[in-house]
């Protein structure tokens, strides 16, 4: 019943909010309608009637500007929009949880993820404290696995990730081989250290400039969150944005405007890390359903 799902959804949101409030994070609201998102090769914003203004695809630009202003721990639960994304795990309009911390790197975020998922499971599923996806039970209190992207491709796919990237097979292997393999774990899994071309806003590893300090959280094979140590070099950031626009242009996509005020203040951003978590998917895992339609009040098709 959808009515039960809506109660569960409200409980998950409340548990998430309590988790961050209890840990001294400032809950913020930033504008949803903005003149520029961070340009990404494969993310298309929804434009409005205001010339070039668009709905946010993520609150990251504004939240990082707050880090530049000196805020240290921030979180936000907000609506995001991405054009033409609709599937069993995607809605064009969806709810994102993002949190940012200064003076730390992506390792701290991984610890946050463990605490958050354990808190949500304990509050929202007090009987068994488990998540369920495709009938598999996932225990956030069991020890979490951390696997590098390179290792995952070699181990589960017997292929080299760089080779897959060159041949344009990365997404196919990831969704057809790696994600199903991650579904076999009874605990959440962290896939980490992505090839730098797959991390437009992440800092590279000090030990290997080909890898970025980015990770993705998987629960039962479902991709739940994407976090990284933030890049705070404005020149490198501009270069990557322009590269994304070049790829878009080559693929026949629109060129996107750059978020200039963000680029201007980026040099002031302390060492930081930030993460985006699909809240609808967290509700799916808590409810044990496999289709996003079941945990929202209305799908676009019902409107």
């Amino acid at each position: 019943m959808k009515i039960d799902a809506l109660w569960l959804r409200a409980n998950v949101i409340k548990a998430v909010r309590d988790f961050f409030w209890e840990r001294g994070f400032l809950e913020v609201e930033t504008p949803l309608l903005i003149p520029a998102n961070a340009p990404e090769e494969h993310i298309n914003p929804i434009f409005t009637t205001l010339p070039s203004w668009q709905l946010q695809t993520s609150p990251e630009i504004c939240m990082k500007r707050l880090l530049c202003n000196g805020h240290k721990k921030l979180f936000q639960i907000s609506r995001c929009w991405r054009s033409n994304e609709r599937g069993s795990r995607h809605l064009s309009e969806f709810t994102m949880l993002e949190w940012y911390r200064s003076d730390c790197d992506y390792q701290t975020l991984m610890t946050d993820c463990e605490g958050l998922l354990q808190h949500v499971a304990a509050i929202c599923q007090p009987d068994n404290r488990l998540f369920v996806h495709n009938a598999a039970k996932i225990d956030p209190f069991a020890s979490w696995q951390r696997i590098s992207v390179q290792e995952a491709f070699t181990h589960f796919g017997q292929v080299d990730v760089w080779d897959c990237l060159d041949k344009g097979l990365y997404e196919e292997i990831l969704t057809a081989v790696i994600e199903p393999a991650l579904a076999g774990f009874g605990s959440p899994v962290i896939l980490m250290d992505y090839p730098v071309e797959l991390a437009a806003l992440a800092r590279t590893k000090p030990t290997n400039s080909g890898l970025a300090e980015r990770f993705e959280l998987y629960v039962g094979g479902l991709e739940l969150a994407n976090g990284f140590s933030e890049l705070n070099d404005p020149t490198e950031q501009r270069r990557r944005f322009e590269e994304a626009n070049c790829s878009r242009s080559n693929a026949g996509q629109d060129i996107l405007p750059l978020p200039e005020p963000f680029l201007k203040t980026l040099a002031l951003m302390p060492e930081s890390a930030g993460i985006a978590l699909g809240l609808d998917r967290l509700v799916m895992l808590t409810a044990g359903v496999n289709v996003i339609d079941e945990i929202v009040a209305f799908t676009p098709e019902e409107l």
Binding site: E40, H42, G87, S88, L174, T175
Partner: protein, 187 residues
Amino acid sequence: MYTVADLKKGLKIILDGDPYLVVAFDFVKPGKGQALYRTKMRNMINGSLLDRTYRSGESFEPASLEERTMEFLYKEGEHYTFMDQQTYEQVVMEEETLGDAKNYLLENLKVEVMLFGEKAIGISLPNFVNLRVTETEQWAKGDTSGNDSKPATVETGYVLRVPPFIEEGELIVIDTRTGEYSTRVKG
């Protein structure tokens, strides 16, 4: 032309020259990666299933299928001939293509013929058809053997189970979706 954004259940497209019906569809997009469009399609001519994954930028030719009301004329061996009463155009279909539909084809029955270009690839029947029983055992009144049905052959040669009281020469209604007896027709 259709693009990947048009993909959805029920879409009909042409692939390698054959018409396909999209029977399952999902959009997948790994974190910040390229979108993939996963489909399962059924070949509308031979019924075989096919899994295909597409990416942004790919396009498809729509399968233009036309449904036309035609009358069944006659059967000759394995060949069944239908005619459009308006244009007098005739099409011939093999028994194999017709499948179970052949059990209900009586001369002059009106059916919807699905055309892919010039080729007839299937028919849809009315949900119920009336057919006369040509052969069945006589019902012994007072039979307490407990059999609540018996086999009967109808005029197309189709054999089905009917209630024991049905007699040869009677007209019965058959549900073409299940192939089962529905009711007896008076007269």
